[in-house]
């Protein structure tokens, strides 16, 4: 692919020994050992391996951190038996998952039942390819990186459907339908929330977006950026089926939804896929609004860029865990109403506000203040008015209809 | 890019024919729609291939045509499927051969 510029070529020109570039230089050094013809291939393989190792262990770490945090928040210890403070629990879980019997229901569509977890997990790995996790640290810098990200993300809906339908179980199918409805609904605000960032940075490339947010000028520090960040986080939560939007997997209602008939390694794959999806979208949020690997203020730039990214990333993950521990699950109609009647209009308005912001980009001091006030006032008013519209939503007598 | 243009065109022709065959031969309305989508895809593939192999790749005309074609396909499939569902709701069938209320 031409537009994916060879990262190695670029890195070699910016070689320096600083701790900021330690991963880049190490990669280059290892790759240079290989014969020149194989160098691109080798470095690519190394990068892939790096991503898989880092985010794979991230997955393991997150499961245990989540369980422990939830435990603390619910006044209990959480897992504390395996290893120091129970931190080897993920390993134990992994072994358990791999050795469990792989149950396939008799009437299931075997092929699809097998394919579903793969279709979920493989594309998610791809999504990390465009994520700049540090200065010069994106596997490929695509011109249309963010488009690639969302295009890859659409595979997960198919996989959910495959899982739900192939199980030939009504709870699975209902769960899958819920999940698809939710993901489609929240894909719209997700994209719309990301749109102002693309407008203001003038590029679809994630590297350019990060470049457009020097220290102190993160998009988070603008009214539209703040609103967009909030909406993006909410939509991302829903996209990754996490609490409080976890009703596709609601155990108490539909017995874990489309996951009902999965067990063993396939279940682990689903689990992995979901967490990786969460990581990917969190990384995107960091990139879009929190300046990616950029420091918050310029005098903190001595801190390595990848560490900044990791810090923000970890903070957001903890935020998600906190939300899971705190918020109750929504009803399906509330969920959809919230997307279509609140998030989408607000995101469209946010687009307009971002336009105003761009248009008044040359404002000097007093104008700057007015710009701030006007933009914030528009968003606040819309927030209040739209929020009022959500109140007192009366439900009709509810019946499920899929094919009547 | 050592693949000759004609290979892309042949692939596109086959894809088109497969889609056409599905649209003409299958009974179910949804499958007819899928066939039409395949035909559209084949046409888009042609556009892109001609753009890439054409003398003026910087003009982007083929690319644009493909983009607009994709957008129109989305609209078309939405309306088409809505029609299929509506007909199914009224007639309890989705067999194309039984959709003949509009005969002359």
């Amino acid at each position: 692919m031409r537009s994916a510029r060879n990262p190695l070529a670029r890195l070699s020109t910016e070689m320096d020994g600083s701790i900021d570039q330690i991963f880049v230089s190490t990669l280059h050094r290892i790759a240079s050992l290989a014969p020149p013809a194989a160098q691109p291939l080798v470095s690519m393989l190394l990068i892939i391996a790096g991503i898989m190792v880092v985010f794979g262990s991230c997955f393991a770490l997150t499961t245990i951190v989540e369980r422990k945090t939830l435990g603390r928040m619910q006044n209990r210890y959480g897992p504390n038996r395996v290893g120091p403070f129970g931190f080897f629990q993920p390993i134990a879980d992994g072994i358990k998952m791999l050795t469990k019997e792989d149950i396939v229901p008799f009437s299931a569509d075997k092929a699809l039942h097998f394919l579903a977890p793969l279709v979920l997990t493989v594309p998610v790995w791809l999504a990390f390819a465009v994520l700049p996790v540090g200065r010069n640290m994106a596997a490929i810098d695509l011109d249309a990186g963010i488009l690639f990200f969302f295009a890859i993300g659409s595979a997960s809906e198919l996989s959910v459907f495959m899982a739900g339908w192939s199980s030939q179980n009504k709870y699975s199918l209902i769960g899958a339908m819920r999940a698809i409805a939710q993901m489609i609904s929240y894909e719209v605000p997700l994209l719309l929330a990301a749109m102002p960032v693309l407008m203001l940075s003038g590029s679809l490339s994630l590297a350019d977006i990060v470049q457009a947010q020097p220290p102190g000028h993160w998009f988070l520090f603008t009214p539209w950026g703040l609103a967009g960040f909030g909406m993006f986080l909410i939509a991302a939560t829903a996209e990754s089926n996490r609490s409080p939007f976890d009703l596709p997997e609601g155990e108490s209602e539909i017995i874990a939804g489309y996951l009902t008939e999965y067990s063993g390694f396939k279940y682990a794959l689903f689990f992995l896929g979901e967490y990786l999806g969460l990581f990917a979208v969190t990384g995107l949020a960091v990139t879009l609004y929190l300046g990616g690997w950029q420091a918050p203020v310029s005098f903190l730039q001595w801190f390595p860029s990848w560490a900044w990214f990791a810090l923000k990333f970890a903070a957001l993950i903890l935020l998600f865990i906190w939300a899971r521990a705190t918020l109750p699950r929504l009803r399906l109609d509330q969920l959809l109403n919230f997307a279509w009647k609140f998030l989408v209009p607000l995101a469209l308005l946010n687009l307009l506000v971002a336009g105003i912001w761009w248009w008044t980009g040359r404002a000097q001091f007093p104008g700057l203040l007015i710009r701030w006030l006007v933009c914030s006032a528009i968003l606040a008013a819309a927030y209040i008015l739209l929020g009022r519209g959500l109140k007192d939503h009366k439900l009709p007598p509810h019946r499920y209809h899929y094919a009547v | 890019m050592t693949t000759p243009l004609s290979h892309y065109l042949l692939l596109s022709a086959l894809l088109f024919s497969v889609g056409f065959a599905g649209a003409v031969l299958r009974r179910h309305a949804v499958l007819v729609l899928i066939g039409i989508e395949l035909m559209l895809n084949a046409a888009n593939l042609n556009f892109i291939a001609f753009w890439r192999y054409g003398p003026h790749p910087e003009a982007l005309t083929g690319l644009m045509f493909a983009i607009f074609s994709i957008a129109i396909a989305a609209a078309e499939v939405a309306v088409g499927l809505a029609l299929v569902i509506a007909i199914y709701r009224h007639r309890k069938t989705s067999q194309v051969e039984q959709f003949q209320a509009l005969k002359g």
Binding site: E157 | A71, V77
Partner: protein, 188 residues
């Protein structure tokens, strides 16, 4: 030869998926195969140095069209075409027409040597250029497409919307809530 491998692999996969989509009995399988074919075409776009179109293809076809088709299949309760034959009654005429079309498409390609040319080495289609052209030369089509999509969206919703029951039954006795049967969910 090695550099041509991706094209032939993708072409085979795409063609195979398309044929499967048009021949399988189970409609859900058909839809999923169609999604695979769409993905293959998108990958071919990437191969043709048009990543923007390729990603757009994935986003639209896999993310939206395939899902829509699957919903339509489930809503028309037609995962299986049933015991009857899957092909239309006038299949013979159809096959003739398909053969004619295939011939009409393939023969000219095989017969024109000018189409055997190779691609020019560099072709740039940066996203920025696409964006600029969409906002300048192609702004009118773009706006028209926006309008068309809005109209199609509203139209589709209106067409597919469930009709309201004409009159509520006068009696106070409500019909008992219905159990969801497997039949309703198109399960076997």
């Amino acid at each position: 030869m090695l550099s041509e491998f991706p094209f032939y692999a993708l072409a085979l996969v795409t063609l195979f998926a398309a044929i499967a989509a048009m021949t399988l009995r189970n409609l859900v399988h058909c839809a999923l195969c169609a999604a695979a074919a769409f993905t293959g075409v998108g990958a071919l776009y990437l191969l043709l140095d048009a990543p923007f179109v390729g990603f757009a293809q994935l986003l639209v076809y896999v993310g939206a069209v395939a899902i829509l088709i699957i919903f339509a299949v489930l809503l028309t309760c037609a995962a299986e075409t049933g015991p009857g034959i899957a092909f239309s009654s006038s299949w013979l005429a159809g096959v003739c027409a398909v053969a004619l079309v295939l011939a009409g498409l393939v023969l000219p390609i095989l017969m024109s040597p000018s189409l055997d040319r190779l691609a020019p080495p560099v072709a740039g289609a940066p996203v920025k250029d696409i964006g600029n052209q969409l906002m300048t030369i192609y702004v009118l089509p773009l706006e028209t497409i926006g309008l068309l999509l809005t109209a199609a969206l509203i139209g589709a919703v209106v067409i597919a919307m469930q009709d309201k029951p004409d009159a509520q039954p006068a009696s106070d006795v409500k019909p008992p809530p219905r159990e969801i049967a497997d039949k309703d969910l198109c399960l076997r």
